[in-house]
């Protein structure tokens, strides 16, 4: 089978169309499978217009999860997240042992107050978390919601990320292997320092086993 990354000049228009269709078909198969599980977990009506408008632009499993978590997770709550754990490629957000502490509301209120006082009208916490990570932060000053955690991870990794370890590990690496997003079960449960549910954005040197930056970012259920 022709590799999809072959130089454009090596493929005829017909070949390119054929290759594109094959890739599209593979994506659609994966999407259909994951989507079914997401809908089961969240009780999403597939004909729902809001879901479909978001779904239209979505190609990857992590993104399907993000839509569901952002749009429906808030309504369905942690039980749905737990169910999803068994289904999605980002299963650890919805671990069966998810013990997210109920400090979300006070944190949100406090941060909102700080942001309001700071005069930053267009502040984007996701971008701030990524920027701080790239600047070497190891303990984030920001606490984010579960959906923001996913969104920041997805944005940090870029397209074509891969999952490491066993399926559902919650450990993801960018296609160039230089950026990591880790939301493993142990961190998710806050079983180690800093003692609260957190995830990691990590930066690696080429061929390195140890990230030279590993930002611990607390998050809360929302």
């Amino acid at each position: 089978m022709a590799a999809t990354h072959m130089g454009a000049g090596e493929l005829s228009l017909k070949d390119k169309r054929r290759a594109f269709k094959a890739v599209q078909k593979m994506h659609d198969r994966q999407m259909a499978l994951l989507e079914t599980k997401v809908m089961e977990a969240f009780g999403v009506d597939p004909s729902d217009a809001i879901y479909q408008s978001s779904r239209y632009y979505t190609r990857l499993g992590l993104e399907v999860y993000s839509i569901a978590a952002g749009g429906y997770g808030a309504v369905k709550g942690v039980m749905a997240l737990r169910k999803l754990a068994k289904a999605s490629s980002l299963s650890y957000l919805a671990s069966k042992h998810l013990p997210i502490k109920r400090f979300g509301a006070s944190v949100i209120a406090k941060e909102s107050e700080v942001l309001a006082n700071s005069g930053l009208k267009n502040f984007c916490k996701i971008d701030a978390v990524i920027e701080k990570t790239l600047n070497g932060s190891i303990h984030s000053q920001y606490k984010v919601s579960a959906s923001e955690a996913l969104e920041s991870g997805m944005k940090f990794l870029g397209a074509n990320y891969k999952e490491l370890g066993k399926s559902g590990s919650g450990v993801f690496r960018s296609t160039d292997q230089l950026r990591g997003f880790r939301i493993d079960n142990n961190s998710l449960q806050g079983l180690h320092s800093p003692g609260v549910p957190h995830y990691h954005l990590e930066v690696f040197q080429p061929n390195s086993n140890k990230p030279y930056i590993s930002n611990h970012i607390p998050f809360y259920e929302k």
Binding site: Y92, I138, L164, G165, K166, S169, G170, V171, R182, D184, N185, N186, S187, H192, S193, P194, G195, H200, S208, N209, K210, P211, S214, H216
Partner: protein
């Protein structure tokens, strides 16, 4: 070069390298992630807020991680309760 002895589920104290004088505990996390968790803390009981954690997929990555950290570790005893 002689590679550092690595012990799993045993507390150790880092006597040389990155995070010198911190404590280390390496855990198998095969059930969840299929890899190894490397926990570091300033506190020997790993209850302090001052700590961090890393993850590697395979034992060979763990060996590489220890080498890259330039660690010499004094292994202390069993896993804290």
């Amino acid at each position: 070069m002689k590679s550092e002895i690595i012990k799993i589920n045993v507390r150790g104290k880092i006597i040389e390298g990155d995070n010198e004088s911190w404590y280390i505990l390496i855990q198998e996390d095969f059930e969840n992630t299929g890899g190894y968790l490397i926990l570091l803390s300033k506190d020997p009981n790993f209850t302090s807020d001052e700590g961090c954690d890393y993850w590697v997929e395979k034992y060979s990555n763990l060996v590489g991680f220890v080498e890259e950290s330039r660690w010499k570790i004094h292994w202390l005893g069993e896993n804290p309760p």
